[in-house]
């Protein structure tokens, strides 16, 4: 019985310690580890990728209300990252978009999150973050003007633009 009690107490202490660690991690002045700060806004103009490279820079599509990279999009992103590693002088701008559902306000943040997810994936593949820029258009610039599931699926996207 006594042993049981000691077990409970020690478990309690462990939980308290763990909880302590967690709150410390979230405390002020500590940044969240996985964030890669953005580089200053470049003066470059970004244009649609030239026709011969368009097959590489295909739009990256997302699920509703999600900024997670879909598994069926990874192949496409891998092609982009290896092309960028071969063409070191080129800067890329990733433009995040949302479908018309949900609120404009939140979609602005979600579009940025999508662009940042693509950026994080490319950085993980070895592309320098200094070459990658993001912008969000929220739901302002749909690729497909329709109001149905097909249009929405096309509009939840990140587009690539390259520096001249």
């Amino acid at each position: 019985m006594k042993k049981h009690l000691i077990n409970i107490i020690s478990l309690g202490i462990c939980v308290t310690l763990l909880a302590g660690c967690q709150t410390q991690q979230k405390g002020k002045g500590k940044s969240v580890g996985s964030d890669i700060p953005l580089s200053t806004i470049p003066a470059d103009t970004f244009i649609d990728p030239p026709a011969e490279y368009r097959y590489i820079f295909r739009n990256i599509l997302f699920d509703f209300d999600s900024s997670a990279i879909r598994s069926d999009m990874k192949q496409s992103l891998n092609e982009v990252s290896s092309w960028l590693i071969d063409h070191q002088g080129i800067k890329v701008r990733m433009e995040g978009h949302c479908d018309e559902r949900g609120t404009e306000e939140y979609n602005l943040a979600l579009g940025e999150r999508r662009a940042l997810s693509v950026r994080a994936y490319l950085v993980q593949q070895g592309v320098s973050p200094q070459r990658l820029f993001t912008v969000s258009y929220g739901e302002e610039r749909p690729a497909n003007p329709g109001h149905n599931e097909f249009a929405w699926a096309e509009n939840r996207r990140v587009e690539f633009k390259v520096s001249q």
């Binding site: 806004i41 939140y106 999150r113 258009y137």
Partner: protein, 444 residues
């Protein structure tokens, strides 16, 4: 026995005191989470008459009458009485504006009678109103305003606002306030400003780009907005008197969703220069004062509590976007919405100590407006499911909200009293308008 008498006396006194106090603040309203229709005071508004018969201007008189009718009807305290139109002979009684025929009006069961006059001299106009209280048989309120004839509507709003504030128990009147909003122009959009009744819409930005997220400064001298004029969503300040545009925040990534603190000194906004959308507080020059959120999820759409100490914002840290409240000085965060899987664009009621936040919730295919009491967690739906409503913004009186209503893929600005929830359309059918921000009560 003695204590019993004392107690009875005390309670009787208390009841009498309450009754008296209630009468003195006959029009005091309290906005709470529960749906309740306050009884409204019956007001009879008579037509305006020229002070001297040779300066009669029927159109001017009609315009004055229509502005005051709108202001009184939508103030939240009054109903225009009687409901049917008064006969011509009765309307004529407005000529005697400085005297009141109390006995005559007894038959109409009205509580306040308003008579008014105007006087035109050259390009200027003087308006007077006299408000008579039937209960006390006395003059309740009298006011004179004068100014240019070209600003007639403003003068009329000013005079009705003064009357409303004399009875509103300290709540500001919204009659001279303005609403800024976004109008679609092809793939671009520009910011417009209109009177709170939908009149005088004016384009105020000429960006040839996307201009979004308007937010008024507290002295109404200008507004903050987000423009893509340089290719990225950066925060600008437009001064309405000088027409100057100043860059306030130009960090890489987002510089969006500006919200000016009630003390007017700080701006909360969503920025992502750190690699993730987070809430920051900056001063009016763009210097970062504080970072509010530290979470790998999306944190966005801040709105200030009336005390300027707390902020409500949207975060999807739980997996879906929900509303949270942060006391950023004490470093505490509390989730306030639990219903539904998509709760965004909060706006905190501006009246001191108010626990009410209005927000947008996805409800099936559409979005609807809800109120939440952050102390109890109770919610109330304000809109019907037929159309999509989003992006609410409180009026300075804490009674009304403006919002975007979308029907057949076209958007309009509406407002409503959150007690009776009757939608009033403000924008015309030709323009695609959205994202309104209700400006301060005293617009110069």
């Amino acid at each position: 026995m003695k204590t019993y008498i004392l107690k009875t006396l005390f309670y009787t006194a208390l009841i009498i005191f309450c009754l008296v106090a209630d009468y003195a603040n006959a029009t005091r309203v309290e906005i709470t989470i529960s749906k309740k229709i306050d009884r409204k005071t019956r007001v009879t508004l008579l037509p305006f008459f020229a002070k001297t018969s040779d300066s009669t201007d029927i159109l001017l008189a009609r315009e004055l009458f229509s502005v005051l009718s709108f202001d009184l009807r939508h103030a939240g305290y009054f109903e225009l009485w009687p409901e049917e139109k008064l006969p011509e002979s009765v309307l004529e009684r407005g000529i005697q504006y400085q005297a009141m025929d109390f006995d005559f009006w007894l038959d109409y069961a009205t509580e306040i009678v308003i008579k008014g006059s105007y006087n035109i001299s050259g390009s200027s106009v003087t308006i007077e109103i006299y408000c008579y209280d039937m209960a006390t048989r006395s003059t309740l309120f009298a006011r004179t305003v004068s100014g240019e004839r070209s600003e007639l509507r403003y003068l009329a709003h000013k005079i009705s606002g003064a009357f409303i504030e004399s009875l509103s128990g300290g709540r500001p009147s919204i009659t001279t306030s303005k609403i800024s909003y976004v109008v679609r122009k092809g793939v671009n959009s520009e910011i417009y400003v209109m009177d709170y009744d939908g009149q005088n819409p004016k384009q105020v930005t000429f960006e040839n780009s996307l201009a979004i997220n308007p937010e008024w400064l507290h002295d109404s001298s200008g507004f903050l907005y987000v423009s893509y004029r340089n290719g990225y969503p950066l925060l600008y300040l437009k001064n309405l008197t000088s027409s100057n545009i100043k860059l306030v925040s130009g960090k890489p990534g987002l510089n969006v969703h500006p919200a000016v603190s009630p003390d007017g000194k700080k701006i909360a906004l969503t920025m992502s220069f750190n690699g993730n959308p987070e809430i920051y507080i900056i001063d009016l020059n763009g210097e970062i004062l504080q970072r509010v959120t530290y979470d790998p999820a999306v944190d966005s759409s801040p709105t200030w509590a009336p005390d300027s100490r707390r902020l409500a914002f949207v975060s999807d840290r739980s997996g879906t976007p929900q509303i949270y409240v942060a006391d950023y000085l004490a470093d505490t965060v509390k989730r306030v919405t639990y219903r539904g899987t998509y709760n965004t664009s909060p706006s905190w009621n501006p009246i001191a100590n108010s626990p009410l936040i209005v927000y947008t919730s996805m409800y099936g295919k559409n979005t609807e407006l809800y109120l939440v009491d952050i102390n109890t967690g109770d919610t109330r739906r304000l809109t019907t499911t037929l159309e999509s409503e989003e992006d609410p913004s409180w009026a300075p009186d804490g009674i009304h909200i403006s919002y975007t209503l979308t029907q057949n893929y076209r958007s309009f600005i509406y407002f409503m009293d959150v007690r009776d929830c009757i939608p009033i359309c403000l924008t015309e059918t030709e323009t695609d308008s959205r994202a309104s921000s209700w400006g301060p009560a005293y617009y110069k």
